[in-house]
Assembly symmetry: C2
Homo-oligomer: 306 residues x 2
């Protein structure tokens, strides 16, 4: 069997590019953006987080997504064409969980506020609180959510959360609810971290009522911005329901310059970077090589989307 | 035995005041600052982090320090007068360790830089790195240092550090060096956190050479600012030896408005708040009650300074 021809889409993180460049045993081409479809007419494999219908060529046999979410792909059409789709599930846990704690601690230890004061060289001690005895609610106890749960439990926090099917859960959280009981999680938690993707069922799931019941709680979003309206966050901060919000994602993105979130003293902001890591490429490559074996009939697919 | 008369010095954290106010079984007075000595002429106990020689009255039998460090007290004179001195050792681990990780993650996840950009409403993704596979060096593996070590180890970091007497060490760090080998810790570590107090032997212990060998490392200081010259930190940031510095303490304090640390993009700043916590008072009260029993001849002193 000749080596499969692999097209790496030019839109990818630096660490992904590096891992594929270093894999000198693989037959990889990185075309310009408008040359991807052309290259795919004679290739077996696409590695990408982008999709265009012109990519579905007769030679294509397998797509390794660089992203966890695969909503961008025409899953039914791929199935009909016999093209396997695999996701990047499992590449994000370490960095996203560290990022979530970074944002939470930026709030609870007054680091975000102190950084704002630093711009005007204002020495003003901001007293912090302790997270170790808090109850943490995690919206979305999948792969990434569980990485957060494990870190939280290791530091003594009590962990609860939501999961599409709580009966499938096998992790460290002490109580897991279905998404329909999201409000109960906000009610019981001192801090809530969302890792939810953008889907029809997650949009707006963090209602004003969810935030209102927190009574001085902390909210962190490292999933997707569409789970909550920015204005509802601002309202909850101003009413005191939220003590602070740590936000890596927004709706829309980039965050408009007119948004009050930019300058709110109790908001810590990063710019959709929770998933970035120098280790991302090597983790993806490990999945990719397992799946390359599967393509060659040796072993099982990893993260196959059915 | 009548209840001992307790003078709580008016300079104390809110949580300490709250704990003593709530202890309605105790005979506590909180005088104005210039009335402390007067009250002590008829009191047995002083709870304070401040000292003045006028406080050493003939009735004084015990001082419960609100601070860990007790350098402010005339230890020999107290010993001669038969006054017991006990420290607040054990009250700081949870909050200082969380603060140290907050500052470290503010650097490694680009949160500090993003907060600076937020002031000008600039959307600019700052890629982060992962700490979980780093080697962490802790300067001062005492009570607080060990709390940091435990959190680090729980997240998968390799931990090394320094301690006055490494032979006494019984914790999670994999290698412990004497302070004379501080440079070796900087050489081996990806990130270094100092919790060192201000003593004759710690002043300037973080030399320019220590920072220079880091080659893109991360430095966090939640101990005392005198261990390192501010200018050496700036130089190391500018040379690239330091990737970032997370600083809660400075020398002098407050940080002068002229300091370049205020505005350096790779510096995260808080204003000597690592030790602040709403739980501080209840932890101190627990030590205080044990020691009150000891004063009454029931049980042993906790944290007695000999």
């Amino acid at each position: 069997m000749t080596s499969p021809r692999i097209v790496l889409h030019p839109d990818h993180d630096r660490s992904v590019g590096k891992s594929f460049r270093q894999a000198t045993d693989l037959d990889v081409v990185v075309p310009l953006r408008d040359g991807v479809a052309d290259e795919l007419t004679a290739a077996d494999v696409l590695v990408s987080y982008r999709w265009d219908d012109s990519y579905l060529t007769s030679s294509l046999r397998w797509i390794q997504s660089i992203s966890v979410g695969v909503d961008q792909y025409p899953i039914d059409a791929l199935r009909r064409a016999g093209v396997v789709l695999t996701s990047a599930r499992g590449c994000h846990g370490p960095q996203v969980s560290e990022h979530a704690f970074g944002l939470l601690l930026a709030l609870t230890r007054g680091i975000g506020r102190s950084m704002r004061n630093a711009e005007s060289r204002l020495w003003k001690p901001i007293p912090g609180v302790e997270i170790s005895e808090m109850t943490l609610g995690i919206l979305g106890l999948g792969n990434i959510g569980e990485a957060i749960a494990v870190k939280a439990a290791a530091w003594g926090m009590k962990v609860i959360g939501t999961k599409s099917n709580p009966n499938d859960y096998d992790g460290v959280a002490q109580a897991v609810f279905p998404p329909t009981e999201t409000l109960a999680v906000f009610r019981a938690a001192d801090a809530v971290i969302s890792v939810l993707p953008d889907t029809e069922s997650t949009r707006g799931i963090v209602t004003p009522e969810c935030l209102a019941v927190m009574d001085g709680g902390w909210f962190v979003n490292v999933g997707r911005g569409t789970v909550v309206e920015s204005q509802h966050i601002v309202d909850a901060l101003d009413s005191g329901a939220l003590a602070g919000a740590g936000l890596d994602v927004f709706h829309p993105e980039p965050l408009p310059v007119s948004s009050p979130l930019w300058s709110h003293p109790r908001v810590a902001i990063t710019n959709h970077t929770a998933g970035l890591s120098p280790q991302y490429g090597s983790r993806l490559m490990k999945i990719f090589r397992d799946n390359l074996d599967a393509l060659r009939g040796r072993g099982n697919w990893v993260n196959r989307v059915d």
